[in-house]
Subunit: 252 residues, 2 copies
Amino acid sequence: MTLAIEAGLSAGVPTGHPLYKEVKQRITRGLMDGDWRPGEAIPSEAKLAERFQVSVGTVRKAIDELVAEKILLRQQGRGTFVATHTLDRTLFYFFHLVGKDGRKETPGTEMLTFAHGRADAQEATQLGLSRGERVYRIRNLLSLSDEPVVIDDIVIPAQLFPDLSPAVFGTRTGTIYGLYQARYGINVIRIAERLSATLADDSVGQLLGVQAGTPLLSIARLAYTYNDQPVELRHSLVDTTQHEYLSDLVKS
Amino acid sequence: MTLAIEAGLSAGVPTGHPLYKEVKQRITRGLMDGDWRPGEAIPSEAKLAERFQVSVGTVRKAIDELVAEKILLRQQGRGTFVATHTLDRTLFYFFHLVGKDGRKETPGTEMLTFAHGRADAQEATQLGLSRGERVYRIRNLLSLSDEPVVIDDIVIPAQLFPDLSPAVFGTRTGTIYGLYQARYGINVIRIAERLSATLADDSVGQLLGVQAGTPLLSIARLAYTYNDQPVELRHSLVDTTQHEYLSDLVKS
DNA sequence: TTCGATTTGTTCGTATGTATT
DNA sequence: TAATACATACGAACAAATCGA
């Protein structure tokens, strides 16, 4: 007889997982279902322990992992909160460019184009779609210290963002992932990036204010929500004359 | 009265830190002092609890963090071990290049040059040395699928690597960080990398088998040991025609 | 092959400290 | 001040993996 059954968590169905993994999954499901909105507190550890009929220590261990993944945020004396895509978080975890002096700066964003399209074979594979499914294609120009530095080409499944329009996208108040989260309930929790070096062509060079042939950093990003489901594909071209990409595996 | 004093860990001296942080520091100090060599097991949790006069749970929490930082490695039923710089670990945590198909491959290394030198201003700053201190400069050519892909320029303080020579470096059996660890007791536990795009010049192009003017990925790496002490500076130039740099913030 | 000792992994419960409201 | 919530620390019991007798 497993402990999970004893505790009544999934009566009659052996899980094969430790109890705290089960608890973690149930909390994650609550997050996916929108039981608690971004910025809100989840129930206290004591209440969750009561609800799931496990000890507080087991709930803590489950939450520990979600906090380590930056999905939840603990604050002593206040509660445990669903992480929001604030500017600070974006800058810290999702924006990796720094000046050559090491300083990080908030980029200015200008939307250049917004188009409807169909996923090509590669995009479909990466986003887990069928080829030809409807997507939005958005091109942004990012500036640092009022100089253009990055061209971002975003591809997202139209299905996930029902009423997205240039107006909605352009008039957002916070970050792009903040928009996904607040308006569409899509919570980006992890990204993977593949970097290479390339050369600016004429059109790109014009946008970035560099000559054709200038070396650029090319970044292909895939953004994921819960359960490793990909939700956004983003290709960036970076002028690294004044800036660098920082890759720092942090410590606790 | 603090708990640390009660427990006798640092009698009479208030730490201001939680007890488990104190325990973590003492284990870390043991690692720095070479009390337990890489690959060896540290004492069991019960023994450490006895030694430090704290509960097993407190020792576990200290070890938890060291495991999260990949300094220690736990194995149920066996013990807790000091992480070694095996090829697998290097490939997984310190080598970020993958083929365009996503596959990771063990690089072949060829030492091109080995020189004695003096730290310039920038190197001194980054390595925490005084300007003019003696350093070794080592240039390696890395190959993937028998094609040259990376030029590595390594700079390390001579003081930390007493009898290092081309022979010692060239006849090592394992990885470079494995050599640092096994022969000099220097344990690289973290790296930070700054990436930018650049162009191949004639000499570099010749080594990598590409034309001058080919875009290359430029990587400036700083490797750290305990207490964030920098120990190695490494500059890499990567031909990203067939390979990419993977930046993936992993999950638990 | 079996069994027992050892070691880490999981879970429980309790008490107390510390920060917030 | 009091209530609430997370943080730390302790101890105990059992599970699971490993290893050697």
